[in-house]
């Protein structure tokens, strides 16, 4: 029976031009979205490379200046930018702290349009002043991006709905169901086989289209085999979930149009409503403290600190006797006071700033607990992880940059408080930043989706077995 069904189904799909239509649609959608993603990745790489290049050129100039100063020559730069002063190096020659692209970054834009991919922390600036928001038109953020993740999560289910809403009902409507009932096969089995075959063909088309698109856009899908198979695995189980849903609806509901409406309703619930409701609830249960009020707090604290600068410096030096010992001149200027108070402000404000991180983590945790309600959330999250563009990735980057900003600041502290000049031989010791990507396992998401799909299939069997006496033939 299976081989019979197989042959018949393939003929049917070819003759009704479903296969041809789907191939074209898939190629177009995948092509456009992957192309978009790659352009974004390319722009990001170019921006980072340009920034690195600029630093390199600046460094060359700095070394030249240092050389001239060390030889005792007159230089034409503004006095406070001459790099013998450690603060000048720390402020005017910052390093690029960049978040490099991952090999799968083109898959999902995620939060990449919202956050910047490189910053240059300086010694004088404080951590709150580090702005991680990218300069993008908010209209663009509102509309989102036509990336591969969008095609997979939003559009693929709709294709599946169009492809499978009338598997059983069309037989009923054309009158061939009675013929089918005379065959030696249970109706659930028959629907399952038919949907299974459609799933098989759609999978073949999706995989082929993806490989063709990747190759024609100059990506080698087999370069990172595990990543590529991870992506395929995720797409396939996500598709399987929707086919399982189609199986259930086909058995449960009556006419073609009713089926389509029911599946569409489920699509709206899973893809549009559940994510937004979960997000809203997360925001309500763990509300973000007001940023405007944080500004107030920060301002009052800074105002207070400024008034007590001298006292703060004294305390700081008492805590760091090594500076008093090493420095013979004991001269204290603006930056000595400023850096000491800055440190204090940072320490005082850290609970306020951490409150945001904590709240965000709680929200993330809350979503983690309920994300199984919607396969769209699971798929989106794991695609974002794959691309390295998830909220956690950017949080990671932020943390690493702030740590680096600390290292950068600390590096110049001994120079400053020892009143020691920065020289050419100190240049190679300057700290530099490398972003470390924290990888997350993709397997759990795939297994979760697979479990959900199998559960739905099981449910379909259970329900249709129980209600067998209400025969499918007599419905509608």
């Amino acid at each position: 029976m299976l081989s019979y069904n197989f042959k018949y189904e393939l003929k049917l799909l070819l003759r009704s031009r479903w296969i041809q239509l789907l191939s074209i649609v898939l190629l177009l959608l995948f092509g456009f979205s992957v192309y978009n993603g790659m352009q974004k990745v390319e722009k990001r790489q170019n921006d980072i490379a340009a920034a690195q290049q600029e630093v390199k050129e600046n460094d060359a100039m700095m070394l030249k200046l240092l050389d001239s100063v060390e030889r005792g020559m007159e230089v034409s730069a503004s006095p406070w930018t001459i790099p013998t002063s450690p603060m000048a190096v720390g402020n005017y020659h910052p390093r690029v702290a960049a978040m490099e692209t991952q090999s799968m970054s083109f898959v999902s834009t995620g939060q990449a349009d919202l956050f910047t991919h490189y910053v240059k922390p300086t010694v004088a600036g404080d951590d709150f002043a580090l702005n991680f928001a990218e300069m993008t038109s908010p209209v663009q953020l509102l509309f989102g991006s036509f990336d591969l993740a969008f095609v997979i999560i939003y559009l693929l289910p709709l294709l599946i709905i169009a492809f499978s809403y009338n598997v059983l009902s069309s037989e009923k409507e054309s009158g061939s169901l009675r013929l089918l009932a005379a065959q030696p096969i249970g109706i659930q089995n028959w629907v399952l086989q038919k949907l299974g075959l459609r799933f098989f063909w759609l999978s073949v088309l999706v995989i082929a289209a993806l490989i063709i698109v990747f190759l024609s856009l100059g990506l080698n899908p087999f370069a990172g085999t595990t990543l590529f198979f991870g992506l395929l695995g995720l797409i396939l189980v996500y598709m399987l979930f929707w086919f399982a849903l189609a199986f259930l609806v086909n058995l449960w509901v009556g006419s073609s149009a009713k089926n389509a409406v029911a599946m569409l309703g489920l699509w709206v619930v899973f893809v549009l409503l559940v994510p937004s409701v979960l997000n809203q609830l997360g925001n309500t249960i763990y509300p973000m403290p007001s940023r405007t009020l944080m500004i107030n707090e920060m301002r009052s604290l800074k105002a207070e600190v400024t008034k007590k600068q001298d006292e703060i410096l004294d305390n700081f030096l008492r805590d760091h006797p090594e500076y008093a010992l090493n420095d013979t001149t004991q001269s204290r200027g603006f930056y000595h006071r400023y850096m000491a108070s800055q440190k204090l402000v940072k320490e005082e404000l850290s609970p306020v700033v951490n409150a945001y991180e904590e709240q965000l983590q709680k929200q993330q945790h809350w979503i983690g607990r309920f994300k199984w309600i919607s396969p769209a959330i699971i798929a989106q999250e794991s695609l974002n992880h794959m691309a390295g563009t998830s909220t956690q990735d950017y949080e990671n980057f932020r943390k690493q940059v702030i740590a680096f900003a600390g290292t950068w600041r600390e590096h110049f502290m001994p120079f400053l408080y020892n009143n020691q000049n920065f020289s050419q031989k100190d240049y190679p010791n300057l700290p530099s930043f490398t972003y470390i990507q924290k990888s997350q396992s993709r397997l759990s998401a795939i297994l979760l989706l697979l479990g959900m799909a199998i559960g739905l299939f099981g449910l379909g069997f259970l329900v249709s077995k129980k209600g067998k006496h209400v025969s499918i033939l007599n419905q509608g």
Binding site: Q39, F115, S137, N166, R291, L293, N296, Q363
Partner: protein, 468 residues
Amino acid sequence: MISKTFLKETKELLRDGRVRIAIIIVLSLLGVAVWISARHYQNVNEQYALAKTAERGIWDNQGEKNPHSAAHYGTYAFKPKYPLSLVDQGVDKYAGTSIFLEAHKRNEAQFSAAADQTGLARFGDLTPDFILLFIIPLLIILLGYNSFTKEREMGTLTLLKSQGISGWKWLMGKWAALFLPIFGITAVVFLLAGVLLGNLSDFGVFRWNSLLMLFLVYMAYYIIFINIVLLISSRTKKSGISLVVSLCVWIITCLAAPKAASNIAETKHPYPTRQEFAANVLKDKKEGLDGHNPWSKEAKLLEEQVLREYGVDSLHQLPFNFDGYRMQKGEEHQAEVYFKHYNYLKEQYTQQSRVYKGLAAISPYLPTRFLSMAIAHTDYDTHWDFADAAETYRIATQKFLNDNFAVNSSYGEWSYRADATTWKELPAFEYNPPELNTILSRNSSNLGILGIWLLASFGLLLFTSKTI
């Protein structure tokens, strides 16, 4: 004939369980969305009022200080939320809410809500605009996809034809039956929103005519959808196919086109990255006068020019403090630099808008979205407007402070401290969003596109009604 068809269709819709459930779901979703937005609105506005007064307090109580220190100390401009944001949140979530106003620098608005949320926020929020723009068109499809196909499927088409029915009257009946429930739902929601907004105290400037205009825009959008759905239903043979085709139209209009437009707009007319922008500004700043650097070439030039103008030969003989004067001139140069670079951003955005308008040819969603945001004061233009107002205020503040410095002290007197009461003399920052008329004339092209869609879809529908 029109009324008979209308009555029959309405009865049928009312008897259909799915339709009742769908309408109940949409209405309850709308209720929840309005409630959430109203709470959010009140919350934000309370914080806004609090932050605004607290910030002014901090500014007023700086104590004795050099005016230029006060300029560096700076102040904040906070962006208020407007009443109609209850209906359409627009880009508010993605645009910053506070701008730091300090000497020498124009800052971007900071702290957008989206940056403080998880990735889930990008799926969208359960807000009235989400329901109005996405879900109600779906409801229209659900109500109308089988309007004509069912006659075919049940065999009543032949019966109807034998009655000598005129195509357009039949069509108008069906059209009215589809239009009325949508009109009803939308009118109830807008009326409720209006009453809610009218009753809340200190709710900014709420005007009924803005709400009415918003209502009209949405009705136009829905009428376009009704026309399209009926057109598809009259051209297809099976209900299932009609539903799938209508859905495709919905996907392209509401989901695919906006996203594709945003991608195309960005690739064609990109914004610089934040760091690039800062670097470009810095480069231009260096080429002109720096108020803090009396040794630069530009500063020397200014010195000579002022000395010549006043006919004196030393800066000490000037009737004002030259430090303050130079500071102000430097400020003016920097303001110009920022003006130039922000204008470039605006230029890019104008180009991007053109892309959006171009793609509006395949998506009535785009002009509707832009109009709705504009009327609700939650669009990007209003944000620009606010940022510009803040910049004007910043420039005025700097002038106030530098003038105080220049007039009340003599050259080289950096130890000068302005009186503690000085700061109160600075007028507070006030911002009023553009009026409805201004908004409509600014968005005339979007109105035009929506009008064309309306007329074209009606025309096509009536044209095909002859051959059903």
